[in-house]
């Protein structure tokens, strides 16, 4: 401890990133999510088996409409994002270890950014890995669906992680707030006709999917599509991208100013 200190902020951020990644991976959340993904894979496998009342071969559109959209995009994706992102800072608060992050010489916005990067990487691994597992079970039709879904999944994950991490920086019990959001806003508001659902991440993800899924005829037809009233894929991409950046920027701002107890 006698030499002049030669330090690097980048190295310090990298350490926060690695520590967060490690601590979040070895948690109960990971076990719960792996169990949920395994159940989803099992459901997909059972769905893909030939049945007496459905002797025809399954199509990619059926897989997307009956499994991936409702089960994965509608439930698993937000739950996985919620599980990791809402706990990223809130767990440090409840575990009383946040003090060590707040008293390092890393500027607070960079601490937040490191936490975001760790949560995003872990969540992307889980969401894209889960999607791949789900799509590979039924074989070739799954590959077609995977090609359509993976980019949307990645962008929606970035937006959800940004939003739920923002909750985590904002309130102590961020998981409850994130659950309430997922149930009230994403699920209920996201499924009612009109323009209110345009405040949800899932609306833009679906809009993008309906357009990029045209080769497999993914979008619902006629009245249903009219009621949903999707935006173009380009608009959806812009909104998801800007929302992700905006959520992260807002989270950095809150984290850099908030006095944590």
């Amino acid at each position: 401890m006698d030499t002049a200190p030669k330090t690097s902020t980048l190295a310090a951020c990298s350490q926060v990133f690695r520590l967060s990644l490690r601590r979040q991976f070895f948690t109960r959340q990971t076990i719960v999510m792996l169990v949920l993904l395994a159940l989803a894979v099992l459901i997909t496998y059972l769905w893909s088996l030939p049945k007496p009342w459905h002797p025809d071969t399954r199509t990619a559109a059926e897989l997307a409409r009956q499994i991936v959209l409702p089960l994965y995009m509608g439930f698993l994706l937000p739950v996985i994002c919620l599980g990791y992102a809402s706990a990223a800072i809130a767990d440090e608060r409840t575990g009383e270890t946040l003090v060590y992050l707040l008293t390092t010489n890393i500027p607070r916005p960079l601490v937040y950014l490191s936490k975001y990067a760790a949560a995003l990487l872990l969540t992307l691994g889980m969401t894209l890995g889960g999607l791949a597992a789900l799509c590979l079970v039924p074989g070739k039709i799954g590959l077609e669906a995977l090609g359509i879904f993976w980019t949307v999944t990645a962008c929606a994950t970035a937006a959800y992680v940004g939003l739920f991490l923002l909750f985590s920086a904002w309130v102590r019990r961020a998981t409850f707030l994130a659950l309430a959001y997922a149930l009230m806003i994403e699920t209920l508001t996201g499924n009612i006709p009109g323009i209110v659902k345009r405040i949800t991440v899932s609306f833009y993800a679906k809009s993008w999917l309906y357009e990029s899924g045209e080769p497999i005829d993914l979008a619902p037809g006629g009245v249903v599509l009219g009621l949903f009233d999707p935006v173009t894929a380009a608009t959806a991409q812009w909104v998801l991208g800007l929302a992700s950046v905006g959520f992260v920027a807002l989270g950095m701002w809150i984290f850099s100013r908030k006095e944590y107890d």
């Binding site: 401890m1 350490q15 008293t103 890393i106």
Partner: protein, 318 residues
């Protein structure tokens, strides 16, 4: 109450700092300087000690006033280069081993590779945990956790070390070892701020003491200086001698002695108004008389006694 002795080089400075949480005023117009050496921060529960430490380490912002650490705003990341904090709670990333935790802490301070490892090993040696550092921290006793937390605070060699109840849960031998470590760090020119509610810990440890109560700084300075300034509480001195009844009237003749009482068989209890003057007068008296003085001891110069007097003074109506 502020004594004459000023901090030689202030590493941390609080200027008219107030902090309130909603309607609760946690700290009220505090001015203080912390320089090299050991500074004790004492006060009852709810006095504002933790708020003061959190402000000083840049965890919370002041409502009024300013705090500088090594010339930088305490809230800034640059100031935290100079601060090492050992927080009160036991919590740390306790799934890691002590060694890994120390390397991670060094890494979070921006040290990389071999330098992070060197610092981790050096600090583990310093806090006496080198041989026990491969176990997960969750298996450590409270005393071992205190040492590891202290190591985390020391790993980047800070100028200002802020320790919130650092001896809590440490065994007596460990306390002595850690106190020696604090003295060594102070001798190296570092500022060590130790918060404690166990007042007698401060008697031998602290060079200066900050007495705080109800969010206000009651007094700051060395214990002797603060004690001398308590005019309304004469210093109590116990003298053991061969013939107390003979010398009692003679002692009353000294100007600095306010009262003398005899405590059989061989003790005298004096109330002294001006301690430094008394010691000078008593030296001359003992040299010129056959007083057979065996022992002379001030009985109310401890941190605890001074704190009681300060609390009593603070509770008195203006």
């Amino acid at each position: 109450m502020k004594t004459e002795s000023r901090v030689t080089t202030a590493l941390a400075e609080m200027r008219n700092v107030s902090k309130w949480f909603g309607p609760v005023m946690a700290l009220n117009g505090v001015n203080l300087e912390i320089g090299s050496g050991i500074t004790g921060l004492v006060g009852p529960n709810g006095a504002g000690k933790t708020t003061l430490l959190r402000l000083l380490t840049g965890q919370i912002k002041t409502s009024l006033g300013g705090i500088d650490v090594c010339g930088r705003d305490a809230w800034s990341a640059r100031a935290k280069d100079h601060i090492g904090l050992c927080p009160f709670g036991d919590a740390t990333w306790d799934e890691l081993s002590g060694r890994k935790l120390m390397r991670v802490t060094a890494g979070m301070r921006g040290f990389t590779g071999a330098e992070a490892r060197r610092r981790a090993e050096s600090v583990l040696e310093t806090v006496g945990m080198a041989k026990r550092a491969d176990r997960p921290v969750r298996t450590y006793s409270k005393g071992m956790r205190q040492r590891i937390k202290l190591g985390q605070a020391l790993v980047h060699d800070p100028d200002l070390l802020v320790l919130d109840e650092p001896l809590n849960g440490v065994d007596p031998v460990g306390c002595e070892e850690l106190n020696d470590l604090f003295r060594t760090l102070a001798a190296q020119g570092k500022a060590v701020l130790v918060s404690s509610h166990i007042l007698h810990e401060m008697d031998q440890l602290a060079d200066r003491i900050l007495f705080i109560c109800r969010g206000k700084l009651l007094a700051s300075g060395s214990l002797a200086e603060i004690r001398d300034m308590l005019d309304d509480h004469p210093l109590k001195v116990r003298i053991s001698c061969g013939s107390p009844r003979c010398i009692a009237p003679q002692l009353l003749m000294l100007e600095s002695v306010k009262s003398v009482s005899i405590e059989p068989p061989s003790d005298l209890l004096l109330e002294v108004q001006n301690p430094s003057r008394f010691y000078a007068e008593f030296g001359e008296f003992a040299a010129g008389n056959d007083a057979q003085v065996q022992r002379l001891k001030a009985t109310d110069t401890s941190t605890e006694a001074v704190f009681d007097y300060l609390m009593e003074r603070a509770a008195r109506p203006e």
